[in-house]
Amino acid sequence: MSEMWVNMGPQHPMTHGLWNLRVKVDGELVTDAVPELGYLHRGIEKICEYRRYNEVVTLMDRTCYVAGLAWEQLYLMASEQALGVEVPERAEYIRVMCQELQRLASHLMWFAAFVMDVGLMAPFGYGMRDRDVILDLFQSFTGARMTYEYMRVGGVRNDVPVGFTDRCRKVMGWLEQRIKDYEDLCDRSDIFLKRCIDVGVLKAQDCIRNGITGPMLRSAGVARDLRRDRPYSAYPELDFQVAVHDAADVYGRYRVRMEEMRQSIFIVRQTLDHLDRKPGRVIAEKVPRFVGTPSPPPGQESYIVRRGYPKGVGFSAMEEPHGEALAYVVNEGGEQPYRVKFRSPVMVNICAVRDYLVGYRVSDIPAIMGSIDVCVGESDR
């Protein structure tokens, strides 16, 4: 068989979203790969310029639909810096708890999709089921299961309800056992190991050259985690370990994510203890009033500058479930952000596709791409 280009996407079981992977195959061998992104571009960064600061949070939920709270906090950390707002301690702890629950939900979703990609049927149901329990937790204090709109400039919208911490602890204990079960299920399956080990290898220097971050980088033996290396929110006071594996292949990424889930449970427990111990405000007392006022009706949006408000820029970097996400918010003294810019880790991880796909077989593509944990909403924005 001579070489041919095969389009895998935009509608293809492997893609987990709307993007197109063009691979050149020689029989079963992949000889070239090109990612085509942009099918889900909604212009979120531009829309942000026409929304009040708090209204942008709604868009952030839509940026990454499996890790909405992570993007809410990423944006808010930058805009709070730009607006000069201080966040109360309790709000920071609630935010960190949200982050780690969101990481658990995202990784469980990844687990479900990944094992489905290598052909395991049953754990798909387990991953989705466990994620649902975390979504139930989210529902109990944000009121929503996917698009939360929970965080606000200066804190969070409301405190967690009475009895939430106990309920959450119960879920965490249960989940810990579950994760152990899943590891047993996968690690003791010869076929699973055969499909994962030495597949999709991307060494540390290649990761760094491509700007790849997150579990992919950590699976190559580089212990870089922004939660520890550039701590934000309440992370400096929390105790956890960075999950590292040195296999640099699909199996390493799987191990790193599994370990991260365990660490997330550990962190959530610490934040719950803190929430039980210290009551307090969950939103800052002094927040500029305009951040919450509604925007003008569609068609009449304009950039309104209020004199007297401070100007400033804000930058935030956080360890999102997929990798390192950066945000930059420019406050020119207006009611809306003047400019918002994000850096999505998924975008960077996908764009290096040629480096970790070429030389492997067509059957390996779903396993490798599954191990990247693609979220197209986030990469296309």
């Binding site: 095969v6 079981p13 049927m121 049953a122 399956s189 076929i191 055969k194 499909r195 059957s363 779903p366």
Partner: protein
């Protein structure tokens, strides 16, 4: 001919029909109602019975798989149409039947339409050679096992024709994988069969079951053969972990990507008919067919008419449940890994099994008094 074999039963129905009709048929048509017509009708009835058995069983297997897979995934499976979702597959089939048959413009017309029909037809033909109980088989052939296996290995060619004719890259890769898979599993599969034939001394499936009634289930002396045969059968019927030709993660739907509507229903049905035949063969060759050892419970049941068919069906559904279990618990292997499993693991094991069977033929099986 008595009514306790399939052919006898068909003749009995046919005779009943003709005897009822003869008094009321007008005189000029009476020559058409003679003995030749009666015989022909009997064979037609026998064929229809086999056809319906295969189709109903295949549809029931889809239900069985959906329910079991649902339980494995901690959900309930089909449950709304009919009792416990029993009629769900008929509803799905009706939906697919109503769809317009579509053909991709660039697809080769003959190959595209021929492949699903031939795939289903050859699969259904095999059922005609498989006895479900003593005498319950239309094709009484001394080489029925050989015939069934020969027909069984037709399918990859039709899959390849369909894949090539679809003019789709996914289909093409899927079709190529079918061919690659064929070389991996056929040899160990046949070696495993050879060991059974050595021990039973016949190619007739009824004879093989009779031998098991005499010696006990072949699963005991030929445990290695059973394992090899089971794994090779998984590859033969293209189920996870060996469903490479339709690996949905990378090839969308593999070789039948371009098939929709009733054509898709036919390919899916043929898949399950083959799953059924795979379970049939495992039960016939290794698990004693329709015979169960007499125990306090089974002894009482064995007195009933058609008890053999009951036991046979029970075993078939248990074997298929293992197929589903494997599907729920194992990932899909890669093409090269399948070849490695086939050649480096299964062929040596199956050869050892053949030697074992030969040894048993020489020293006699069972080497110790019959257990059950």
């Amino acid at each position: 001919m008595t009514a306790d074999t399939l052919i006898g039963f068909a003749f009995w129905i046919s005779a009943f029909m003709f005897n009822t009709l003869r008094p009321i048929v007008p005189a000029p048509f009476l020559p058409l109602m003679g003995a030749p017509a009666e015989t022909a009708t009997a064979y037609l009835i026998a064929g229809t019975m086999v056809f319906l058995t295969a189709l109903i069983n295949a549809i029931m297997l889809i239900w069985w798989e959906r329910k079991l897979l649902g339980r494995f995934m901690d959900r309930r499976g089909a449950m709304h149409v009919g009792y416990a979702g029993l009629l769900q597959n008929l509803a799905d089939g009706l939906k697919l039947f109503r769809k317009q048959p579509l053909r991709p413009r660039e697809a080769d017309k003959l190959g595209y339409f021929l492949a699903p029909a031939a795939y289903l037809a050859t699969s259904l033909m095999i059922v005609g050679f498989l006895p479900v109980s003593t005498g319950w088989v239309p094709g009484v052939a001394p080489l029925s096992l050989l015939m069934a296996l020969a027909l069984f290995s037709f399918a990859p060619f039709f899959i390849f024709i369909g894949a090539w004719a679809s003019n789709n890259k996914y289909s093409l890769i899927g079709g190529m994988r079918t061919a690659a898979q064929l070389v991996a599993y056929e040899v160990p599969l046949l070696f495993a069969v050879v060991s059974v034939v050595l021990l039973a001394g016949t190619f007739d499936l009824t004879g093989i079951v009779d031998a098991q009634i005499r010696f006990g289930w072949f699963a005991l002396p030929l445990a290695l053969g059973l394992i090899v045969f089971f794994v090779a059968m998984l590859a033969e019927v293209e189920r996870i972990p060996f469903d490479l030709p339709e690996a949905e993660a990378e090839l969308v739907e593999g070789w039948n990507t371009e098939y929709g509507g009733m054509l898709f229903a036919m390919t899916t049905l043929a898949d399950y008919v083959r799953g059924l035949i795979g379970s049939y063969l495992i039960v016939l060759l290794f698990l004693g067919g329709w015979w169960v050892p007499a125990g306090p419970f089974t002894g009482a049941l064995n007195g009933f008419p058609l008890a053999g068919i009951f036991w046979f069906q029970l075993k078939v559904y248990v074997v298929f449940a293992v197929f589903v279990w494997v599907r729920a618990g194992l990932p899909r292997v890669r093409t090269d890994q399948l070849l490695q499993i086939g050649w480096k693991r299964m062929i040596p094991i199956s050869l050892a099994n053949v030697f074992l069977a030969a040894a048993f033929v020489v020293v006699g099986w069972p080497p110790f008094p019959k257990l059950f």
